[in-house]
């Protein structure tokens, strides 16, 4: 579960099928469970008009067979979000009125896909989100601007500039990331022990 937080942080809901001509579903890892539940409760014509983009990440094959059994109109299993991105952009570029977007899984996945969808002109009202699985965070270093994916520990070391950063709750939808700030800025070298805050 996600802990309670501050107003810049998105609030996630539970996916529900809404009438549409195309249902674009983007999910990673345990987000597959949200798809399976959505499909189970939706009318049969949902899957006939569904394009599922799924990135298993650390769950490997665990959910892939069950997604295949759903037999959606299109199912794509991607090696990573970056690998899936050209396809996602192509789908969004060809989207017409009546597109419904469903995002499920980690905050990093949902945040980035949300950004793509809104930049493609999809209204917020046509995008749903459901958080599942890891609470690991995507964090931008405020100093060097590099983004570190799947941050589980706080403080952590920036993958780009190497500074030790603490993870704020302040969240930017435009960057789809939380903010990381040098923890020993006022006392260089005094770095507290890193603890697992996000699983």
């Amino acid at each position: 579960m996600l802990e309670g937080s501050i107003p810049s942080r998105p609030v996630y809901g539970v996916l529900e099928m809404r009438p549409g001509r195309l249902h674009l579903v983007v999910a990673d890892a345990e987000g597959a469970e949200a798809i399976l539940e959505l499909a189970a409760s939706a009318p049969p014509d949902f899957l006939a008009a569904a394009h599922i983009v799924y990135i298993p990440k650390r769950t490997g094959d665990k959910f892939v067979a069950r997604l295949e059994q759903l037999a959606p109109a299109q199912l794509y299993v991607g090696a990573s979000y970056e690998a899936a991105l050209p396809r996602l952009r192509r789908i969004l570029a060809g989207a017409h009125m009546g597109l419904q977007v469903y995002l499920a899984g980690t905050e990093g996945l949902m945040g980035q896909a949300m950004l793509e969808a809104t930049q493609a002109g999809i209204p917020h009202s046509a995008i749903q989100t459901e958080h599942r699985g890891s609470t690991a965070r995507r964090v931008q270093c405020v100093h060097c601007k590099g983004v570190t994916e799947d941050v589980t520990h706080d403080p952590f070391q920036c993958a780009h500039c190497g500074l030790h950063l603490f993870v704020r709750d302040h969240y930017s939808r435009r960057i789809a990331a939380f903010q990381g700030v040098r923890i020993d800025a006022e006392d260089p070298g005094n770095i507290p022990e890193s603890v697992e805050r996000f699983r």
């Binding site: 107003p7 903010q179 260089p188």
Partner: protein
């Protein structure tokens, strides 16, 4: 009125100083001996000749050096000035507001000649002369917001108004109290204030937003905010926190008067005519504690405010570690005498 513009720096050797005249007009932000958040908004009307409230955009002795510091910061980090594509018109609105105000209120420093869309701008202190076509971006060396805010003291946030909210969709931010335009751009009023403790629960932001959504053209508003800064750094950005944060360690009772500064923001709010955007200038004034205690009323009051400030606020404002030292130093200037209400020197 003649302003003698000072040659000074806000980095490295920190030669910034206030003249005795600048100290007298400093916007001391405490009308009483204690402080808590409030929606302290009032009309931005000309008030008290010589004070920072007299003119629409105050120009003071630090103008030229502050503009040089802005250029330095922008050269290091261009992300401090950004404008989302739909905000260009608001940028022109802002350029017009600043140029017409300054030309009217400081005729010996600034001139604006307009012949339809053909404009001719003269900025004497910075040695700038520019002929351009209003609303034609190709006739200026920068976008309109960047062009005019490179010539105007204070940070600027341009806020788009839609969905009953304000969205920070453009800005020039090089003199900020530890917030990042690059991170916050595109956020709404509640989102960019999210890290501020207590104020959300107190309903401060709901009330402030309601007020700001109703600011009308020609009726600007203002308020003061404050924090404390070690060394006269205009640029206390999160981006550079790993460079200036360490300076807090160097503070001692001996260097306190020269090194510690009260940092006051004069925040104003103007409705813009074409875009219906709101511009939010945030003008930073710095004063050394040595300068501040030359006004006995301010010395007594500032000691009491800092001593009694709730821990959460002292932490948020970044001086909790140094507070005992600051209070000890200030206590020498507080004899316990009562202070008259109001922010003015006496």
């Amino acid at each position: 009125m003649t302003i003698i513009f000072k040659e000074e720096t806000f980095h490295d050797d920190f030669t910034f100083r206030n003249s005795p005249e600048a100290v007298k007009r400093f916007p001391f932000p405490f009308p009483e001996d204690s402080y808590m958040y409030s929606v302290n908004l009032e009309p931005h009307k000309s008030y008290r000749p010589g004070s920072v409230y007299e003119r629409t955009f105050d120009v003071d002795e630090h103008y030229v050096s502050e503009m040089r510091d802005r250029a330095r910061v922008l050269a290091e980090d261009p992300l401090r000035c950004q404008s989302l594509p739909h905000m260009t018109l608001a940028g022109w609105d802002l350029l017009e507001l600043i140029m017409t105000s300054k030309a009217q209120e400081y005729p010996e420093l600034f001139e604006l000649h307009r012949d339809g869309a053909k404009w001719h701008w003269i900025n004497r202190p910075l040695g700038i002369e520019q002929k351009f076509t209003f609303l034609d971006e190709t006739t200026l060396p920068y976008g309109p917001m960047e062009y005019i805010t490179r010539q105007t003291q204070g940070d600027f946030a341009l806020l788009d108004q839609r969905d009953d909210n304000l969205w920070m969709d453009a800005g020039m931010v090089t003199t900020q109290a530890d917030w990042s335009l690059d991170f916050d751009i595109g956020m709404n009023f509640f989102e960019w204030h999210a890290p501020v403790p207590k104020a959300h629960e107190m309903g401060i932001f709901q009330r402030a937003l309601k007020f700001l959504l109703n600011v009308q053209q020609g009726s600007p508003a203002r308020r003061l905010n404050w924090t404390m800064t070690v060394n006269p750094l205009l640029d206390t950005s999160p981006e550079n926190y790993h460079k200036w944060g360490v300076m807090k360690r160097d503070l001692t009772l001996e260097n306190m008067g020269q090194m510690m500064h009260l940092r006051v923001e004069l925040q104003t709010f103007f409705r813009l005519p074409r875009s219906n955007a709101l511009v939010f200038p945030i003008r930073c004034y710095l004063i050394k504690l040595d300068e501040l205690v030359t006004v006995p009323k301010w010395a007594r009051r500032f000691h009491r405010v800092i001593r009694d400030l709730p821990t959460e606020l002292a932490t948020y404002k970044g001086f909790i570690t140094n507070r005992p030292k600051i209070v000890e130093w200030l206590s020498r200037y507080d004899d316990g005498a009562p202070t008259p209400p109001g922010i003015w020197p006496d």
